[in-house]
Symmetry: C2
Subunit: 275 residues, 2 copies
């Protein structure tokens, strides 16, 4: 089994390591890529092709993990050479993923999305997949990947991921806004307590984690929300998603970004108010 990666950042590195441990041959190509990417690929210990064309021709499964804005261009570049199954694992909207996978001439395509943190979970991170060749891609479960097929249509996996993301990021923004106001009134602990009575026992820990994470990743969140808003705008006026995007934009502008993730929300609000 030969797996190729287009783009080689954290996701590719983590999954490659795991696959190689389980006996898979992993290749990439780093022509015209940054030194950082080359370094990551070398440190991971994958093998190299000297052209994207060779990578595309020789991989049983080729996985695209580039920056979202390059997803389409990369698919276009290798589309007519790809012999195996082409998997788009980028964080893009269903519309973009369909356009991207439309470039793959043999039609052996998969829309895949990572749910959760690849840093925390490693090879075992949950991957959902849809599209005509999702079942074939799921064969990588034999090599340790944690893939669930969620449908046969391209766009479904990325849609599920983005809608889940709209919800979880929105919840973080709501929490931040309410608890920040409670903090100013001196009733933040009580607000958390009375919300937790209907939201279950894990609510408070999860809320604190969401508030600190929102502060630390505000900028990235606002960028990710752009994709969500674009997707939701296709079918409705997404009032809540737009507000979530705006919330994270304002937050990243107003907060002095901490060097490390704050340990609790009091630290966050102190950062916010500079005392």
């Amino acid at each position: 089994m030969q797996v190729g990666f287009l783009g080689f950042g954290e996701v590719a590195s983590t999954i490659s390591s795991g696959l190689m441990d389980n006996g898979v041959d992993v290749y990439t190509c780093v022509i015209d890529r940054t030194n950082k990417t080359k370094e990551i690929a070398e440190n991971t210990g994958v093998k190299f092709y000297n052209s994207y064309r060779s990578l595309a021709k020789n991989s049983d499964i080729i996985i695209s993990t580039v920056v979202p804005s390059n997803a389409f261009e990369v698919a276009k570049m290798v589309g007519k050479y790809s012999k195996g199954i082409y998997v788009d694992m980028n964080n893009v909207s269903p519309k973009t993923v369909k356009q991207t996978l439309g470039m793959i001439k043999n039609g052996k395509t998969v829309d895949a999305a990572i749910i959760g943190s690849v840093v925390e979970m490693g090879l075992n991170v949950k991957v959902i997949a849809s599209g005509p060749f999702a079942d074939d891609f799921a064969g990588l479960k034999s090599f340790g990947m944690n893939i669930s097929v969620v449908g046969s249509e391209n766009g479904h996996a990325s849609g599920i991921k983005l809608l889940r993301s709209a919800y979880t990021k929105g919840v973080s923004a709501l929490l931040f806004e309410s608890i920040q106001h409670g903090y100013k009134m001196g009733i933040d602990k009580e607000v958390l307590k009375y919300i937790s009575e209907t939201e279950g026992k894990d609510f408070i820990d999860s809320a604190v984690s969401r508030i600190t994470s929102a502060a630390f990743h505000a900028d990235r969140r606002s960028q990710e929300m752009e994709e969500v808003v674009e997707m939701l705008s296709e079918k409705q006026d997404p009032v809540m998603a737009k507000a979530t995007e705006e919330f994270f934009k304002q937050l990243s502008k107003n907060i002095k970004k901490p060097n490390k993730r704050p340990e609790n929300y009091l630290e966050v609000f102190k950062l916010f108010y500079g005392d």
Copy 2:
């Protein structure tokens, strides 16, 4: 123990019944009130005073459960006659509750807020209370009320309630928006499933209940959010709360209100799209 109610709707009726069962004398006054209010008070079996002044003079504890827009006027009317403890149990902002309780000349005031549904919980519904006489008001626990003192300052109980409300109503709006989009794509069940993997096992039931309830009570929700937005606007630009208010305004405008609460969200979205 003599308890008086100013205003006599569902909350007053439910709490009165329970208190009377436990041996409390309950009074109200229905001068200039609607026939509906008179009827509720008569059916509940409380006793009547012929003036608000007498009610205020003779009650050990007087509880205001009027419509929020009347909270201030009612307090102003009885403020100089109130001999006992005056409890504002209306759904108003901390600022309004402070102004309202400022009308009570003897200063024996309590800011109280109901958390949850008085219809479902009856006398046992959770009531949070703050203010200088909150501990005294909590004496009604001996007569079956479920009162928790959350602070000594007027404004804290109503603040906790409104911030909790900002969060829970916002979550309902987020869910509605995401799942509605998922429904149009045919992936609503999967979106719920993958959100539930991080949100806990009760998430799906709770989500379905929130979506149906949002549809059924959209109009009331948008009105309640006005108070939340007013409160949050005192200290920040409440991006998420404003969006939640807007969401429910649009929803109440766009959805054909069902006669009874829908049983599941598929019914809701069918109502929405009229098929």
